[in-house]
């Protein structure tokens, strides 16, 4: 068999393979790309359902000083960065505005996820009903916890699933690996320094925590933006302070 004939055969085989793949995609029912439908693992279903919103909310919170809609903020690189410590005066140290930053973030997350969580639980219920279960659901409290290296969302919703027998699920949890807890802890430490002394050094934190990058950007009207970045995963938490600001020249009065 000559070379040209061999090439022709290979081309024909290639065309047939491509055609077969196209037929499979067009004619065979598509794979379900929605949330996990494993009814034995409702936590995985909920996790898959809320994960997009959860991650987006965490990013927004992290870029805005732990607040989704800050009322007192500094605009930095198109983000409204909330103040953790603030004074409008010159020469004075700031007053702490967010003393319980961990708890604040937990509350913000819980509120932000409320609607999407309800939707996901409705979908879960629908999924079970489609599988022939009779579902009784009692919605309880949602608790968000910032913990070392993870964020845990605990739904105290009770589900009773009845088919041939009845199965009860009292608690559903979603765990996201994230070091927001640690970054917020460092942010509070820096806030303490700002409120006591009017400034904080960045390098001691990088000496102690090898994977942490701390950046400080002073702005012309006295605000300082701090950016804490985990070098391993790029997660960033940034916040603003305004403490012991110096006026240009001998300007008199508040800005």
């Amino acid at each position: 068999m000559n070379t040209k004939g061999q090439v022709t055969i290979f081309i024909i085989i290639g065309v047939l393979v491509v055609a077969a793949v196209l037929i499979i995609f067009l004619l065979v029912p598509r794979l379900n790309t929605g949330p996990a439908t494993d009814s034995a693992n409702p936590s995985a279903f909920i996790e898959s359902c809320i994960m997009g919103d959860l991650e987006d909310t965490i990013v927004t919170l992290s870029l805005q000083g732990g607040q989704l809609a800050p009322t007192s903020y500094y605009v930095f690189e198109n983000n409204n960065v909330g103040y953790t410590c603030y004074t409008n005066e010159y020469y004075k140290t700031c007053i702490v505005q967010q003393p319980l930053l961990h708890s604040q973030i937990e509350k913000e997350l819980a509120e932000a996820l409320s609607d999407v969580s309800d939707t996901c639980f409705s979908l879960l219920q629908q999924q079970y009903e489609d599988e022939g279960y009779s579902v009784s659901m009692d919605l309880g409290e949602t608790q968000v916890s910032l913990l070392p290296k993870r964020i845990v969302i605990l739904y105290n919703h009770s589900l009773a699933l009845t088919k041939t027998d009845t199965r009860s699920i009292e608690e559903i949890s979603v765990v996201l690996n994230n070091n927001l807890y640690e970054l917020v802890g460092i942010a509070l430490s820096i806030t303490k320094w700002e409120s006591n002394f009017g400034d904080a050094q960045t390098t001691p934190y990088m000496d102690l925590y090898r994977d942490l990058k701390v950046e400080k950007k002073k702005q012309s009207e006295g605000t300082t933006i701090y950016m804490l970045t985990d070098r391993n995963n790029g997660n960033t938490f940034q916040f603003a302070t305004r403490s012991v600001a110096w006026p240009p020249g001998l300007a008199v009065g508040a800005p």
Binding site: Y86, V96, Q97, P99, S103, T191, K217, K218, G249, L250
Partner: protein
Amino acid sequence: MNNQHISYVASFFLVLTFLIGLTSAVCCEKTVDGNWCQNAEQDQCATNFGATEYKVAPTSCDQTTFCSVGTCIDTNQGKCIDNTAQRTCQEQGGVWDSRNSADIVQCQLGCCRIGEQSSWTEQANCKKLATLYGVETTFRLDIASEELCIATSEPRVKGACVLDSGIERTCALTTREACQTLDGSNGGTYIDRFEFEPAEGVSTSFYEDTLCTDETLGTNCARSEKTTCVEDKDQVYFVDTCGNIANVYDASKVNDQNYWSDLIDPVDSCELNANLGNAARCGNCDYISGSICAAYERGENTKPSIGEYVCQDLSCSYDTNGNNEIDSDEVYQHGERWCAIAPGINKDFSQSYIPNPREENLVGSEYYRLVCYNGEVTVEPCASYRQEVCVESTIETPDGVGFRNAVCKPNLWETCLGQTEQEDCEDATLHDCRWINSGRLKPDLSDEHGQELNEKINRLYDMNREVVERRDVSTNMIEGWLGIDPETYFEFVCVPKYAPGYEFWEPQTTKQSGEQVTDMCSVANEVCYYTTADDIFGQTTATIEDCGKDEGNCHCVPVDDNWYWLALKENMCLSLGDCGSSVNYLKVEGGDSWDVTRSDEL
């Protein structure tokens, strides 16, 4: 305007600032933009939000009870934070204490040991962490600092935990306590280096300071040529065939059975050279010294002789001087900090350097600090308007290389004008000032000295007219030619060493009254009278030739705007800040702000 007048002006300014601050602001418990406890104008105060009412008081916030600050205790996390107002704390779910955190027992910071790690935190937070991690913790108040706390972490005793099921004899490198739980039982007696009292099923034995690859243990774990990085550790480690971490990577010992038997402290392992020259064969990295374990990446680090991990150099190369080359002094060690070279700032960053106000600290210039960490350079701007300047020093190190350190230092210029003695003025511990010739003759200058000065200036001008009319001639040079000690004839004044920046495009007014206040630049204003004479045509002229020895103030005769007195005044004006006729940091010339007026009438 002599030194005493300048002091009065400066003092008046400060008192005015204080009084204006006192009389017009109120204390807002909450402002309309959501800030707690701010002194602001009445219309900035939020009076209510829904059913919640917020207080307003016609005084400073630190005089009120509702905005006095204390410590907010987060009982959930066990953490404390100072300088928090009571309502701020309570509305966010905390417990408020009027005392400073240092005076509250539960807010005392100490060293919290959690497993092998340490954390500098409050005792309540330490207990919280114990609950979260499910481990025991110890809390020590006798360790005085965070650095000491982390430096004195005591790693738990580790060794080979051999598990024998009768079918398989395997091993895990772990702690004694973890080994005791691996077989699922809680009882039994542990005897060092002997078998644990076996329960049914798997028996465990713990061998302190021994690796799983010790041949005498007879486990199925063997040596390998695999390496890895370990979380929270700097070094590259060997890994055995069971996946256990072994000793620090040392290529010369990969087949040394002794190196695979005993657990060896990194301090006793191979030594990594300072320049990482032997990084291919030794994985004993050290973060403080500038190296850490990282995966090998071609072009990024050295290829290891064995395995896929190597000590990565954390130093930085940075083109600080902008010449598109990395010079030998532009390789920075991990942790070094230095001042960026930017247009219009000091050419030398040592604290003792005296800048030239004509060329340095120009309008619009700012200082930046550069920091090298983990092989990356970050830029930190110092405060704007040159309210901070970057100063740099080098710490001597035993290897002679030196370690650079830089800080953004506050520019302490505001008290300069109030200093009347050179020693006080140049006290670098209190201010950043310098002592210069103000261009004003001493009020008590004798006639004899006055005439002497006039004669010298007259003679000098005759001899060196072309030279002294050049703008680049310094006052020091002129004084050298004159052969004078300027302190004999002139008043000296204390001015900022680093000329500060102003919002000179805004009128200097008070926010409250809109009334014009004195600005810094006018401090250099001066009226200097000189004698004129009529020429043969009856025209009144004033030239240096007319300024004879019997006539006064030759030093301030304006001759084509290039003269000694003008040079002195310009020096003073530029030193005060963004004043005078100068260029900005982009070398663009400013408008003509010199105004030398001549009046024929006294």
